[in-house]
């Protein structure tokens, strides 16, 4: 635990002067995600520690290299949580990586993504400047929202030295219901429940079974559990954690793991072969024999997109992300140029 900002700053400044590409890393638990980066390593793990946390303010600030597990344990002590239910994928995941990846767990449709809880950042940009945007307050409309721009940017605009996050009380009670249902009726059920004031906190379908998680006040969870029916999983079920961290057997298959992001009620795409449906239909994990181009076409035709999330070796050359329209890509390059004029920060990880 410590503050190595000035050391990191020197490294980036030197790289800026020498035009040395850099590969930013935290715990490397999500190094597989995004396109391959060649560069001198910038290890952010040494820049670690919770900077401030007062539970009644509902705000936590931590250095980017702080282990995610440490933050979650601290929040749990005070009955609070990160509402985006960040995937860890492996031990050593950091809060900086959790934000930079932009990834969220099964709670996403109700709890939001990293961008939704990110209130402020301290950023080390591609010129080695340390810049502060946003702050530690919930409402702040002073200047462009540069903080949220960092969520999901995968370090291509700057290294996250410090992040301030909105945290919320953890619900008093959480229970999981399971029922045998085929895919289409399961999807229909998820959508129906999403439209009602049900305290849903997870809705997934896997291997012929619909999984519903309820979180909220005791009375509310109990009442809805009666109304919805189904089999009750043990309170300490690890299903959601294994789904979040891709530890279910499903994820151990050979081939490229695809992630489809779609409108929740989108019917089964032709390319969908082996599938787990999460986020009440809006996120689908898939293994498929269909070629990458066709997968992307099918998702795009319905307003969604497909990511080659974990690429099999034979697919190493596939771009992780769906191509952007030329105008949008041009804007991305313009923005990247402003934050990182030499193009040294995680070059190519998000787009070329």
């Amino acid at each position: 635990m410590g503050d190595i900002a000035s050391q990191l700053q020197q490294q980036v400044r030197a790289a800026f002067d020498a035009q040395t590409p850099l590969r930013l890393r935290g715990g490397d638990s999500k190094a597989f995600y995004g396109n391959h980066v060649e560069g001198e390593e910038v290890d952010l793990r040494g820049h670690s520690g919770v900077v401030s946390y007062e539970p009644t303010e509902l705000v936590l600030s931590a250095r980017g290299g702080t282990p995610l597990a440490e933050i979650e344990a601290l929040l749990a002590e005070h009955g609070q949580q990160l509402t985006f239910e960040p995937p860890h994928f492996a031990e050593g995941a950091t809060i900086g990586g959790a934000i930079a990846s932009g990834l969220a767990g099964p709670l996403r449709p109700w709890g939001g993504a990293p961008r939704d809880v990110l209130l402020g950042v301290k950023l080390l940009d591609g010129q080695g400047r340390i810049l502060n945007f946003g702050g530690q307050v919930m409402k702040n409309v002073a200047g462009y929202d540069v903080s949220r721009l960092m969520a999901g940017a995968q370090g291509t605009l700057g290294a996250l030295l410090e992040v301030s996050l909105k945290v919320l009380p953890a619900p008093p009670k959480t229970r999981t219901l399971v029922m045998d249902l085929n895919r289409q009726p399961a999807l229909k059920r998820m959508r129906e429940l999403s439209r009602q004031p049900v305290p849903l906190s997870g809705a997934a379908w896997h291997d012929g079974r619909l999984y519903l998680r309820l979180s909220g006040a005791h009375a509310s969870v109990n009442a809805w559990r009666e109304r919805i029916g189904g089999e009750r999983l043990a309170e300490n079920t690890t299903f959601w954690q294994r789904l979040r961290d891709q530890q279910l057997d499903f994820f151990k298959q050979d081939g490229t793991l695809w992630r489809l992001s779609l409108a929740g009620n989108t019917p089964r795409l032709d390319c969908e072969q082996q599938v787990i449906v999460d986020w009440a239909g809006a996120q689908r994990w898939m293994f498929s024999d269909v070629n990458a181009h066709a997968i992307r076409e099918q998702a795009a035709a319905l307003g969604g997109h497909a990511q080659a999330f974990r690429k099999a070796e034979r697919d190493a050359d596939i771009d992780t992300f769906a191509p952007m329209p030329p105008l949008l890509l041009q804007l991305h390059r313009e923005l990247k140029q402003r934050f990182d004029p030499q193009g040294i920060l995680n070059p190519g990880r998000l787009f070329q």
């Binding site: 810049l131 307050v137 002073a142 462009y144 721009l149 940017a153 049900v198 509310s220 105008l327």
Partner: protein
Amino acid sequence: MDTADNNALRERLAEQFAEFVEDAFILTKNEELRPYECDGLSAYRHVPLMVVLPSDIGQVQAIMRICRREQVPVVARGAGTGLSGGALPLENGVLLSLARFNRILGIDADNLCATVQPGVRNLAISEAARPYGLYYAPDPSSQIACTIGGNVAENAGGVHCLKYGLTVNNLLSLQVVTVDGELITIGGAGLDSPGYDLLALMTGSEGMLGIVVEVTVKLLPIPERAQVAMAAFDNVETAGQAVADIIAEGILPAGLEMMDKPSLRAAEDFVHAGYPTEAAAILLCEVDGDNEEVSEEIARVRQRLLDSGATEVRTASDDAERARFWAGRKAAFPAVGRISPDYYCMDGTIPRKHLPRVLREIASMSEEFGLRAANVFHAGDGNLHPLILYNGNAPGELERAEQFGGRILELCVEVGGTITGEHGVGLEKINQMCAQFPPEELEMFHAIKAAFDPLGLLNPGKAIPTLNRCAEFGAMHVKAGNLRFPHLERF
């Protein structure tokens, strides 16, 4: 540019616009332009060069292409209810009104979203969604009049932000016309899209990065029930502590509002909400959810407030009483307007724990400047609206109120907060941006602007001060008497 040049430019533009916009929607005469000279911040007024009211996206694109070619600045405008001068026109610029973009294009109940044109009123979305049991959560107080396009431009909030988020948390996608007249889609049908989060960058950018021409918002199921408790306190610090205690209890209120004695008395005199006028402060705490949840939580809230030292806690016995409790809060601004010739409304956000200090210092500034202050506070999210009472006709009072306001905003920055929580920077707080951000951050804002708009044609001069401007720091002013749409709730 002198008048002759302006006249020539106006004619040239009008002629080009007339090729695709009906004459009735190209305004060039002074009497037609006057209504557009300001937004909700009427202390600043500029008659625009001209006003054009396109009716479809193609027209907006064509207008932008012409303005780009002629290098004429463009200010987009929704309902003009903004309080920071974000839609203040330019004398040498085109005012692009999106008033005719007023259609709800579709409600997709199954995907919990609505696609609307930017000129649709905030409340109209919830009204259209109601038959499906859904609503749009952000509820800025001007929601009966303000438009969703303006909400996006300002990242509008409301009283339910703590639980349901701001505009930025409730959007799925935008269609945006760029300064070059190109149409881009930001976001998509799913919950994320490839690349940077331009949806967040665009939200709150005050019309300086592009013109929003279509918005897809998230909808939520209408909660089964809402219940409010009102608690009285004999000092403000106890009330502040009670807020922290409720949060510590693990309760996430849908709304959590505080009023100090001057504001609660003014409100009580005005709307007879049933507030205890002897109290030093009151808290309104609303919880919502399903029946079981609300019953459980309101009981916990009530007990917690009593344990925290409330002298009295009342739970609304029915919807009418609940509406009455809220009516006082929602009428706080006009209520204060009744007891003072003018008032100046501030909009800072602070870390909640500093509330006692900030209120103490506001009280001592109040003595120092010889002006009364009333405070209303979105206590849940730390957004403070001090109202400075003054008489614009009394020599020197206006200037004192101005200095007082500036000092409050600087205090907000000093305790780790911000100069604007939800009203935007616009032109009003552009000087205070210099207190909020060092030069390198301001330069980065300008660089971002240049990435979208290299010639600086979109709403130039707003939101981000030039470094030169920061050299001349000074607060500006709102006069209550000039607040437009006085019938709208402001809180």
